[in-house]
């Protein structure tokens, strides 16, 4: 199948590639079917590209690659909704915000992770109740930013 008119041109995909969010993403309940596409090889960043609405794509990242300590707890209700057990391959993504022209200020939303069952491709954006995490977690530590700015 081919998805046309996206920001990334035409995307060829098969039925197995479709990630399905029965509730959509938070604030976007009517967009349920997505593809995960790779904008830049060898980076943890991906676009969650809507199939229902080709102009809509969310920047996400494999969180373990950008925030290695991140370990959200998935409660039983979500595990059963997504049919997850210990053996199920899972993907954990979080949305990424980059202020225009300023990648050093990148943040990721650790309070609302996206969990994908890699076997069934069922997915859900979860709201954690854990106070440890914030919606705007800085990906680059302050010292790194300062160093970069000095170097620049």
């Amino acid at each position: 199948m081919i998805l046309s008119n996206t920001r990334f041109g035409e995307i060829e995909y098969s039925a197995d590639d479709i990630i399905s969010f029965s509730d959509g993403l938070i604030g976007f309940p009517s967009n349920t079917d997505f593809l995960l596409i790779n904008p830049k090889p060898n980076t943890p960043f991906r676009w969650l590209q809507s199939i229902d609405e080709p102009s809509l794509a969310f920047l996400v990242a494999f969180t373990e690659a950008i925030v290695p300590a991140y370990a959200p707890e998935v409660d039983d209700r979500i595990a059963s909704e997504l049919e997850l057990d210990e053996e199920t391959p899972q993907m954990l993504l979080t949305t990424v915000t980059i202020p225009a022209g300023n990648p050093q200020e990148m943040t990721t939303n650790l309070l609302g992770p996206i969990i994908i069952n890699g076997a069934t491709m069922k997915a859900k954006q979860v709201i954690l109740t854990d106070d440890l995490y914030t919606v705007r977690h800085r990906v680059f530590a302050t010292t790194e930013r300062v160093t970069e700015k000095v170097a620049a």
Partner: protein, 69 residues
């Protein structure tokens, strides 16, 4: 909007399965206890709105701002 006045430890019942109890009132803060079935999600509204806002900004990211590759 339905407006009800409740005192400490009083509750309201929504439908057959949801109960909201006033647990504590302290100055401007009110602590609520919520009893609901497992398939009913309960969230603080501002968190929900913040996540919605982050989703929106993630959809506005520019390809050229993504580091690496």
């Amino acid at each position: 909007m339905l407006v009800l006045t409740r005192k400490l430890h009083q509750s309201i019942v929504i439908g057959d399965q949801i109960e909201v109890v006033v647990l504590e009132v302290r100055g401007e803060q009110v602590r609520l206890g919520i009893k609901a079935p497992k398939d009913v999600t309960v969230h603080r509204k501002e968190i929900y709105e913040q996540i919605q806002e982050e989703n929106k900004s993630a959809s506005e990211a520019r390809l050229e701002d993504i580091p690496g590759g």
